[in-house]
Symmetry: C2
Subunit: 569 residues, 2 copies
Amino acid sequence: MPAESRRPQWIEQAPPRDSYRAIFKWGAPDRFYHPKPGLLGYLQERLALGPDPWRAPRQAGTTKLRPAAAPALDEIHAARLTAIVGPENAQQDGFSRTRYAHGQSAEEVLRLRDEAPAAASDLVLHPRHKEDVAAIVAYCHAQRIPLTVFGGGSSVTLGVKPARGGVTLVMATHMHRVLAFNETNQTVTVQPGILGPAYEDYLHHAPERCAARQRYTGGHFPQSFEFSSVGGWIAALGSGQQSSYYGDACDLVVSQEYVTPVGTFTTADFAATATGPKVNDIMKGSEGAFGVLTAVTLKIFRADLGGRKCFAYMLPNWLAAVEAARRISQGEFGMPSMLRISDAEETDAAVQAYGLNHPLAQRFLQWRGLNAHQRCLLIGQADGEKHFAANIARRSGRICRRLGGLWLSGYPARKWAHGRFLDPYMRDDLYDMGVLIDTLETAVPWDRLMQVHAGVRAFITDRPRTICLTHASHFYPQGTNLYFIFITPLMPVEAYCRFQADIITRILENGGSLSHHHGTGKLMGPWMEQHLGPEQMAVLRALKRHFDPHGIMNPGGTLGLDGPAAPAD
Amino acid sequence: MPAESRRPQWIEQAPPRDSYRAIFKWGAPDRFYHPKPGLLGYLQERLALGPDPWRAPRQAGTTKLRPAAAPALDEIHAARLTAIVGPENAQQDGFSRTRYAHGQSAEEVLRLRDEAPAAASDLVLHPRHKEDVAAIVAYCHAQRIPLTVFGGGSSVTLGVKPARGGVTLVMATHMHRVLAFNETNQTVTVQPGILGPAYEDYLHHAPERCAARQRYTGGHFPQSFEFSSVGGWIAALGSGQQSSYYGDACDLVVSQEYVTPVGTFTTADFAATATGPKVNDIMKGSEGAFGVLTAVTLKIFRADLGGRKCFAYMLPNWLAAVEAARRISQGEFGMPSMLRISDAEETDAAVQAYGLNHPLAQRFLQWRGLNAHQRCLLIGQADGEKHFAANIARRSGRICRRLGGLWLSGYPARKWAHGRFLDPYMRDDLYDMGVLIDTLETAVPWDRLMQVHAGVRAFITDRPRTICLTHASHFYPQGTNLYFIFITPLMPVEAYCRFQADIITRILENGGSLSHHHGTGKLMGPWMEQHLGPEQMAVLRALKRHFDPHGIMNPGGTLGLDGPAAPAD
């Protein structure tokens, strides 16, 4: 652990205005959350970083952005499109064109740190309402101008990259209103640009805002909660940290309104209906390739039931942790809202990072057969009606204890919940000190979990000075996800992209899905054909041809519809 | 109530071989379940049937079927198609061509009772396996021969009607095997022709059949359970009587294999995945218009948790019953597997039909403010882990009592469960005695329930001598279904079709869905464009063009893709 005298000189100033860093820095410009000494010590040791690597972090990307090129869009088009939203809602300066062309993937961050952004749109528009969107889509369709939608900008899959330039629609500026609140049906209708906190705040304050009888929650808490939009959740089929109970984003959608090049429509608001394949489902996950979501009706949940129960157990090994999670998921006593199992390496990292490695505690754990490098942490939280939630915690505990688990109180789960949206803030600090951290996630049926975990982990850790921490955090009776966090010394962006592509290939080779909840974007697009097979890709292409005959909607690789094929292995 | 001396002369012989009645009689040929005296008395009174209407039921349709016309299929095609499956699996006799051309809609039953069937296929084939299906589909595609799939034959929406003749594929004859059982993932993979009882039997006996550690259930129990196929459940987006907990058929599907005119594919088996719009979802509810389902992997559930709890309450009125069901559905303590609320008319009918109208009981109910013609029955059943199920029953009871409900013990729910697959057997008896009984069902959000219930009921009961019993039986936090049962003196088929069309129109006018769980078939097809709107219909048509460019798959109105428009009001 670094001595106080060697305290890192963390950056605590907002990035300079119009700088590259102002684009990529995670979260609020003036908010910071730095790695704790325990974590730094762990990284120093495991990555063999040499003495005091964090003494003088390199604050990359602080110079003023130099626009790469003039907009390629014909001036007459720019003028006509600007006239739709008004000049105050149109931008063509280099910073805006670059800012709204980038999400939060490691590739994008690395390029921006290098002050060499990969993409820029030609014109940024901030539509005020559905009518603006409809007019813009119609114009772009008629004039064959590419159109990309920017929600909260938290995509980690190049989802907002305007690969062929054109127009970027920024939804969060104006289209963030609550359109209807229906307490009888327990639904809310919102515009897609509303971000997580505003959405949740409205629901929590429903009694004050719209005279509701109860307080509500949307139940969707992705790690990007603070800077992701409701529209993005649906477009990329997101999951949140409590989705095992509340459902993934796709499960929350009751009905949607879309503007597409071939027309505008609203799907019906039935909880279930047997009138053929559901267009409401077809649009979910379409990642802007079919149309623009302009309104969505979502399920909401009671926020004041007071049932929350937190629990945590240490299990002897990964096999036992997986077995515990599977038995909980298949136990038919309701699902915990949050459940997370960490593999041995992530568990060791957590123990060290949080300074929980007191010799006495270590000895007690070992005496209980819970050895370092083997033991695995399970944390959980149950929500809903209080007897329902209490029973979930009780049944889950029983399962864990039968598998040799040791009860750790509710503290670890509460601690995790407390800091859950802060962790991404550490990324820029780590990059600044020369440590690259990134993640890839996949879905697995239970019977392929071990293979995917072992196969992908082996590949990642085969790389020198590379840590791989893995957890599963979204649970279903039939399977779960695997979330690989890999940490390695910073490398050039091209080298990183090759490494990342190789990991994706290993995930598929071992039987995982291309994505559990990050969508595919232009990052995963190249593998789509291989992953889904030509027959299913042909279905997606038929839908693309129908909705977007001129190929203007989020072109350049989205869903693998019009981009390059996967890199050869 | 009819005296013993006037006991109806119910028919108790299996229908004559190759007769019209052999096609339409519900269920096993030699199984009968007759209306009870209480029900007969109720009908006699309410329909003003005159004295002893049930003394001499008219056993319609008992003559040997006379084939309407020779098969229209070219002999060379018939020979080539027969060669694929072998002559022992091909039929061209008039009875088979008619039998597999009919489902169980009132229209089909009325036409068969009149010995004037409406449709016949040209060739009936019983494929042995996926390869047979692929060869047949390829041949029909190349030669533009219409192809209709017949599962269990319980469609009530003209789903199996070969509207343009051609080939009918009968899936239940050979393609009823269990292909894989995966206890780790809690899934089973079956061929689509397996019927409910065989499917459930396999899962219940999994320890004996495939050395499973536990017993399982598929959790899907439509009223047609005994004579519906797993493939049909998925093709028509069915729901079962316990779907509020286990999920509708579409929720149970993990992955599917389809043979389509443009190729064969299998969707992936991930419990969730974020790789774009899901072809697995697109195929559900496609009602044979896109391709033939040849294998499906389904979720299964523990059958031995011993948690079952039954409960029943009498509530003061329909408003209170609806409110109770809504609070239960939104209570976040887990869903009852079965829940049913009957409106006042259905409640009165149940009280009379089951002989529960003892004067003392009546007086007690009235003393409790539960008056005839107002009070409404709620019955429920909770499944799953025993504390989970007990809590559902307890919470549900608390909600009912707060709304003025009187606990009726678990008896009514258990009684209902006992007879739940028998009721359809009464249909033929009722028709024989001149009483037409049929149903239409719809989905409603909670806030349109009252309007749809009142509007549709008013229309139905406006018809002289017509009873309308209504219940809701499938529940979601955001809404429910309404199931209208209408009973009226028998009428000519054309008059009935007009009446039925008018009810469908009223359902839509009042804001209900065209179908909650019966699919749309060729019966509802004409309303699809009006119901979904032209933009969404265009999406379905684009998918149709992709999968079936020659329009051979279940043509003639399925999903409204190629049939007539709705009759003018």
